[in-house]
Structure formats: C-alpha cells, structure tokens
C-alpha cells in the first residue's frame, strides 16, 4: 500500500499532537472522500480529499486518491506529530510536508447594515437551491408566511426553529438554551440538519463582535447547553462539529464564507456560498440557512417571528 502525504493539517491538530507522545486511535468511519479516526481520549480526527475541504482537527490530501484508503474500518492506528502509523509502526500518512491551516474564525468587523447585498445574495442562492431540510423555512426568517405544504422534516421542526430564533433575537438566552434541546440531532444525514443550523449560529456568534458583555455571557449559556447535550443526543461526528463551532472553528468552506462576508465582496460571498452548498446533500443548505437566519436576526431582530410561531401552532 503506497504511503499518503498530507497536503494541509489544521493548527489545532498540530497543537494536539505536539506533546510528541503516540496517540492510539481506531478507524471510526470511512467514506469515499473522507474518514474519521477516533483517538483513545474521545477526540475525532478527520482526513479529507475533497475539493480542498479540511476540517478542524483534520488534514487533507493533495489530490483525489485512486487506490483507496490504506486502512480499514476499526483498524487500530497510531497518531503522532509526523503522521499516522499502523499498529506495527509502518508510516501510512506522512504529515511532514503538510502546510498548517488555521481553523479559527477571524472576527467579522463589517457592520451588519453594510451586508445588505450579501444577505440578498445568500437568500437568492438558498432560494434557488434544492439543498437543505430547513430551506423551505426561508420565508419565515423575513417575516413572511411559510408555505402550507412544507415537507415532512421542515413541518416537524418549524416551530422549534422559530422559537429558538425568536428567543435569540430578544436576548432571552435561557429560553433559547431550552429551545436548543428540541433541535440537537434532528434531521437526515450524517450530521443531522439541525446540527448544521446550530453550527452556523454558534460560528456566527463567535465571529461577530458582540459588544455588550451581557450578550456574550448570555449566548455562552446557549452554547454551553448545546455542548452539554450534544454527546448524548447526536452522532459523534456531529457533536464534534458543534464543539468546534462553539470554539470558533469551522471547516474551510464555511470559514471562507464568513471571511467573504467580512470582505463585503458579493463575488467572494457567492463563490464561498456555493462551495458551502456543495458540502453534503443537505448540510451546506442547512448551514447557510442558519447563517442567514443569524445575520438577519442580528441586523433586524424585529423581523423574527413570534407571529410565525402562532401561525404554525394554529396549523
């Protein structure tokens, strides 16, 4: 089996491995273009070879592999600063030539009122997309009526989504934290849709300069509750995604989108948003929905919908 060479490695993984001791791991999940290694202490490390995608606590490869992964499901491996070895010590993935990628988000400084065009663009992209379980709920974040024929998953979760957003908009942190319990782990896919939505909200609140100390402290209540519940309520892959997002770390396409929003360039926003949409079947769309909802409620909190919740209840 040929040895693989990682092209990029995330800074948090480099830091994690810096103690130089070997970290025993096993192959947790294998996909065509990605895999996850579960380290003995519970951490998940991801390898990806898809269109430059790299995740926090992860590494990526230069090009598509044609020979498959050099290990199988449940195989025991060892991670160390130089790479990934088999249990017998053979180097399977070499980290020595990998460039370090920083998974941490920069703060978005561009004032929300100057992001109107970006918000319009994101809305249009999402409207035109078939991606996302939450996408049919899009009119609701602008105070418009929801369609009466919502698909199954969207109809089931609509009330909880708007209750959560409404409480965030009104800075009712305790109530928003309670609402999050009704969202974590819901939806189809490897990372359930509601988790992608929550990851966007967590990432956004981390990246925005929330000036008031009260808001920072308030939102941390919500984030803490999500992180407390996630390990028992969703898959390990998704719980790890939420943990990283709450600490201001997002995968490369999502990070690029937040950076593009800060740049104020609609061209960059469009390119980055389309790259996010390409993540998974619904994940990208549900993340975009969360991002858009978060941005709208911060810019125009009054738009968020207590009325919408009443209407859904009446249905």
């Amino acid at each position: 089996m040929p040895q693989l060479s990682a092209r990029r490695i995330s800074g948090d993984l480099v830091e994690y491995l810096a103690d130089s001791k070997p970290h025993p791991a096993r192959v947790h999940s294998l996909f065509t273009r990605a895999f996850n290694l579960k380290v003995a202490d519970g951490c998940l490390v991801s390898g990806t070879n898809s269109r430059g995608y790299i995740a926090p606590m992860g590494f990526s490869f230069q090009s598509l592999l044609t020979s498959g992964w050099p290990f199988s499901l449940d195989q025991e491996l060892i991670l160390h600063p130089g790479g990934v070895c088999s249990a017998s010590g053979e180097l399977l993935i070499d980290f020595s030539n990998a460039a370090i990628w920083n998974p941490s988000l920069a703060t978005i400084f561009l004032p929300l009122e100057k992001q109107e065009r970006s918000l319009q663009l994101l809305t249009r992209i999402l409207e035109g997309s078939q991606n996302g379980i939450f996408t049919p709920l899009l009119p609701g974040i602008f105070g418009e009526e929801l369609p009466s024929d919502l698909p199954l998953h969207a109809a089931f979760i609509a009330r909880r989504v708007f209750s959560f957003l409404g409480h965030l908009a009104n800075s009712e942190w305790q109530a928003a934290a309670l609402d999050s319990e009704g969202l974590i782990g819901f939806g189809s896919g490897l990372t359930p849709s509601a988790d992608d939505f929550l990851a966007a909200i967590l990432g956004l609140y981390t990246a925005l300069p929330l000036d008031e100390k009260e808001n920072k402290a308030g939102f941390s209540l919500v984030a803490e509750r999500i992180l407390e519940l996630a390990p028992a309520r969703t898959s390990l892959v998704s719980a790890e995604m939420l943990r990283h997002a709450a600490n201001g770390r997002l995968p490369s396409p999502h990070q690029s989108l937040l950076a593009a929003l800060d740049s104020g360039s609609v061209f960059e926003v469009e390119e980055a948003a389309r790259a996010v949409l390409n993540v998974g079947v619904n994940s990208g769309g549900d993340f975009l929905f969360g991002l858009l909802a978060g941005l709208v409620l911060m810019a125009e909190p009054k738009l968020v919908l207590c009325d919408q919740i009443k209407e859904i209840d009446q249905c």
């Binding site: 999940s29 969202l183 189809s188 990372t191 359930p192 390409n278």
Partner: protein
Amino acid sequence: MLGALIRKNAYYDSVTLMLISQDLKEQAGVQEVLVGMGTELNLDLVRNLEMFSPELEPVGPNDLFIAAKFDEQQTSFQAIETAFDELISKKSADSNGNYQPPTLKSALRQLPGANLVQISIPGQYAAAEVEEALNAGLHVMLFSDNVPIEDELRLKKKAVEKGLLLMGPDCGTAIINGVPLCFANAVKRGKIGVVGASGTGTQEVTTLIDKLGEGLSQVIGTGGRDLSETVGGLMMLQG
C-alpha cells in the same frame, strides 16, 4: 405494517443515505421510509408518523436506522432490508469508489451549486434532458446531434425566457470561465468574447486571437443551425 432495522455504529455519507431512502420509497408496496441516525429527535419524528416499532428501542445516536411502513400484501420488511443491502453495495459504482450519478437529478444532488450541464446522449432522447436542465435553471451545452429542429427552437425559446444559454445541438466547442468544454484549444484568458455557430471556425478564431497576444473572456458555441431562418439566431443573440 411497520418494520425497522438498526445498523450499530454505521456511518454512510449523506448522498448514499438520501439516494437509498428515495430508492426504497419507490419499491412496490412501500408507503413511507425514514432513514437516519438514531437520535432522540429523529425517533420523535418516527413516533409522530406512527412508524415506531419495538425493533427501534435499542437505537442510539451513532446507529443508522430504517423505519418503514408498507403494505404486507405487496412486500415484506425482509424484502426492504434486502433491497437496502443491495443498494448500499451498489452505490459505489466506479473502480475508484466514486459514486457515478445515473441521472441529472442525482448529479445535481451531488453538486447543487452547478449551473451548467453538458449533455451527450443520442439526439432522439436529448430534448427531455435539456428541458429538465433548463427547468432546473442550468445552462446547457448540448453535444448531441440529430435533435429535431422543432425541439431546438422550442428549447431555445425556453432558454431565452429563462435567461439561460442552450449551446447546441451539435455544439462541440466552448470555453466558459476559462474552462474548455469538449473540443477547445488552450488559449489565454482575456477581454475578447466569441460566439460562434461553427466549432472548428471558433477554434481557428480563438487560436488566432491567442497567437496575436490577446485572450478570451468567454467562448460560446451555438450549434450549426442557430443562424438558420427557423431558429433565427436565438443563441447568437443571447450569447
């Protein structure tokens, strides 16, 4: 009749899960199928749909579950389970393990941000695919020939209405955003755009532009019949 199965600690990528869910729903006698990770809230949805069966009791958030409602006169849960296993093993099609979408719809699910489709199938079947692509808001490069001129006219009118390009039928040369499609030469990017009804003519012009030191912004082929009286240069004007 209800049935359910659990695959402990099983992870499949979302494309596979979604396609399997759709394929299972199309099996005769299957009324509803939910495939997902066994999280508490996903099970709430299963209960809500009155599809919860005792087999689901031990499911956890890292397990895959399938819950089905079916007509036992027409099928059995065992048949659904067998179909699931067959679909799982079939979904990785090519020798590199990369999934090959069999339809435009499934290709779009894999690449939802795509805005252009290249169609190359026998001409008599091409119109339906072009129509589907235009309805999905995609620009089309139609390599197929032998497409009836009535279809060409109808579809080009539709493309114009939607502000989309329909390059072809019988279009073999284009360079869009610097990406050569079908037969195109390696030329510099620049500020000159070319719209051509002849592929080889377009190739000649673009290479001459490149040779003279300028580059190409976009190169659009229209198909040979676009400038005919019947079609009226619809794509030439659109380009």
